[in-house]
């Protein structure tokens, strides 16, 4: 009864929260800064799923939640809900990005070249125990400094998909001359209806749970789907957020954000089909899995676990994690309502005597498993 005490619930939850914080060090501004500086990929992931580009707030959310990712994303999302929309950024294309990494698995070489950029792909995953002993490599050490290439890399690269389009291998797309950003459907402001507008689908993927997208994307890759993805292009980049000056109307850069995107292709009937995912921050696993799902969801009759409704609803990090933990809440009214039925069913099926302690448990269980088909979830 303590957990639904008739009095004192408010006090209990306050103390419970205090105890949670007491079991870890208090958060300081320096620590928040430290998270930003040392864990950019973690910050990226929280910003991506939180759909708010604010490294400092994301780091604060991580610190405040003790590193509980779903809590951190929720903190950021809840904060985001309170922020007014002051302006719409100008839509950009890859030509507007400053690309650091751009690779293609579809071709040995591509126009503009394969650019490895920053990556741990080819690192040996060995824990550097020296660090624990305080023998860290010095910053001046030549081994740790990037050696500049003879020729500086380009900052702009054409899309591999454009080359395929020129070859007629991918269906051409209509690119409108001018897009008013305010006209783009916004998944945070409109209810999602299935089938989802393309903008909603891509936005939902951009802020989807990385683990969830990976699980479903992997299911598709492993053979529960109907397509085999080839990474046509994956890129990590910086992008300027261009907004119009409220007075002069002149565009200016309000800041620079880390963005990433991937295109995967698969053989269609007469052309290649393409799947796409982009997100804020650099998160390559999510991009490839998300782009695969994008392609899979466009199939005429995808595997049930890979249709749009299934994927988009079940990879929403805040909804899925929130609903999962809500089962900690008391459900005794609904349970009691079900028990009222169960008692009578046992009565009818096994006679009044069985309703007592003599009930043959196995029999009841067998009946219950039958029940599950026609009993619906009424205890949520």
């Amino acid at each position: 009864m303590a957990y639904v005490a008739t009095k004192g619930g408010e006090k209990a939850i306050q103390e419970s929260e205090k105890l949670y914080h007491q079991l870890k060090k208090p958060v300081t501004p320096e620590f928040v800064q430290e998270i930003m500086d040392t864990m950019p990929y973690l910050v990226d992931r929280v910003m991506g799923e939180g759909s708010l580009y604010a490294p400092e707030l994301a780091a604060l959310a991580l610190a405040q939640s003790g590193g509980d990712l779903y809590e951190a994303v929720l903190l950021l999302r809840a904060y985001r809900s309170t922020q007014p929309r002051l302006a719409y950024a100008k839509p950009i294309t890859v030509d507007d990005m400053l690309t650091l990494r751009r690779i293609s698995a579809a071709f040995k070489d591509i126009p503009g070249g394969q650019v490895l950029g920053p990556s741990l792909d080819y690192s040996h995953r060995i824990l550097d125990l020296n660090i624990l002993d305080g023998i860290a490599a010095s910053e001046d050490d030549e081994d740790t400094q990037v050696e500049a290439a003879e020729k500086p890399a380009a900052t702009r690269y054409p899309l591999v998909a454009d080359w395929l389009r020129q070859q007629g291998m991918i269906a051409a797309i209509d690119v409108p001359e001018e897009i008013d950003a305010a006209d783009i459907p916004d998944v945070t402001r409109d209810p999602v209806m299935m089938p989802a507008p393309r903008a909603h689908r891509l936005q939902a993927l951009a802020r989807a749970d990385t683990g969830g997208v990976l699980a479903l994307g992997y299911a598709s890759m492993r053979g529960y789907g109907f397509i085999h993805p080839t990474v046509n292009e994956l890129r990590l980049a910086y992008a300027d957020v261009q907004v119009k000056h409220p007075v002069t109307g002149e565009p200016f850069s309000a800041g620079r954000v880390r963005v990433s995107q991937a295109e995967v292709v698969t053989k269609g009937k007469s052309t290649y089909k393409i799947g796409f995912t982009a997100t804020m921050g650099w998160n390559e696993v999510k991009l490839i899995a998300g782009a695969t799902l994008d392609m899979e969801m466009s199939q005429a009759d995808p595997h049930p676990a890979l249709n749009e409704d299934f994927v988009l609803y079940h990879t929403e990090p805040i909804e899925s994690s929130g609903f999962c933990i809500h089962f900690k809440l008391p459900h005794y009214v609904t349970f009691s309502s079900g028990m009222d039925n169960m008692r009578k069913v046992i009565n009818v099926l096994y006679g009044a005597a069985a309703a007592g302690k003599d009930a043959d448990d196995r029999e009841v269980e067998a009946e219950e498993s039958k029940t599950s088909e026609v009993v619906t979830k009424d205890t949520m």
């Binding site: 957990y3 809840a78 299935m194 609903f323 169960m342 009565n347 619906t376 009424d378």
Partner: protein
């Protein structure tokens, strides 16, 4: 001059947390819901500073309606002081400055999870029910796009089939809470997981009921004085939970919805689920001056709309006879 200097300093939150745009959207959706009783209206559903699935749908509705002059009651499983109800109440008052109460008669807005009060709500009061799953057809059609078509066609054959199957296998309806209802002779609606005991309260009620699912982004309404009937075959009546033998250990009250509390010796004791009502009964028994409202069920267990609930079938009577 830098951008930082130009920008406004970090501000506190809007009144009642949601920004004006979100509130306006919610109010419009609520009006639409009232105009089409039982119809699930999609809405954007903002993230709130409590977890999804913990009442964010109800909370958004409450926050979009609440004003400083309101008096709010928040209950979870009938209890005002369960940790979750306490938490939601703390948030609503912190953000809106509204008064709070545990007395159903005093409240202008009652946000609830899984219960309706024992005392009859009156005109002008708003009951906000938190909804985990707004779609009564989910059980038979998990695809939401297809379920919408079934609603549009009023094609509820499968819902009836589920009840038919229950009767075939168990001789009775075994749907516990969230018993499906037909609203305004048009839409089948999930009344949120309230026990069957509370389901009749929605019928021809004087108050407004708003139901909102934040995670699923749907809200719907039962306007005052609207017909709400549980799905039941003409020859097998819907029955509320049978607690006629139970008496509240604290007040001695009967024929109200009870919590069953298991005891060490294998027996059970019982206590009123509606703690606000229990508090008033206790105070009344102590001789304090409290106003106890009329209840949906009288002390004999008779529902206040005569004839709405058909007589309970005897235990042996099988519909298959």
């Amino acid at each position: 001059m830098s951008l930082i200097e130009l920008a406004q300093p970090n501000q506190g939150y809007s009144y009642a947390f949601l920004d004006a745009f979100a509130k306006r959207e919610l109010r419009r959706r609520i009006l639409k819901g009232i105009a089409i009783p039982g119809y699930q209206v999609p809405y954007a559903s903002r993230e709130l500073p409590i977890a999804r699935g913990w009442g964010t749908g109800g909370l958004q509705v409450t926050l979009s309606l609440v004003g400083p002059d309101d008096t709010v009651k928040v209950i979870d499983q009938g209890a005002d002081d369960s940790v979750n109800a306490a938490n939601l109440r703390r948030f609503i008052t912190r953000m809106s400055g509204a008064e709070t109460t545990t007395d159903a008669n005093q409240a202008t807005i009652i946000q609830s999870r899984h219960r309706i009060t024992e005392e009859i709500l009156r005109e002008g009061q708003t009951l906000v029910l938190q909804v985990p799953n707004p779609e009564p057809l989910r059980r038979v059609e998990p695809d939401m796009a297809k379920a919408r078509i079934l609603h549009a066609d009023a094609d509820y054959g499968q819902m009836w089939l589920v009840l038919y199957e229950q009767l075939v296998r168990f001789g009775r309806y075994i749907q516990g809470a969230s018993y499906p209802v037909m609203v305004h002779e048009r839409f089948v609606m999930a009344p949120s997981p309230i026990p069957r005991w509370d389901t009749p309260d929605l019928h021809q009620s004087a108050h407004l009921t708003l139901l909102s699912a934040g995670r699923e982004k749907r809200l719907y309404a039962v306007p005052p004085y609207t017909n709400v009937y549980p799905l039941e075959f003409t020859d097998v009546p819907f029955e509320v939970e049978d607690q006629s033998e139970w008496a509240c250990r604290t007040t001695g009250e009967r024929n109200k919805f009870m919590n069953e509390l298991p005891q060490d010796d294998g027996s059970s004791v019982f206590e009123l689920s509606d703690t606000g009502y229990m508090e008033k009964l206790v105070n009344h028994q102590r001789g304090e001056d409290v106003t106890i409202g009329t209840t949906y069920y009288d002390s004999e267990g008779q529902f206040y709309h005569d004839g709405y609930l058909k007589p309970r079938r005897s235990r042996q009577e099988s519909p298959d006879a």
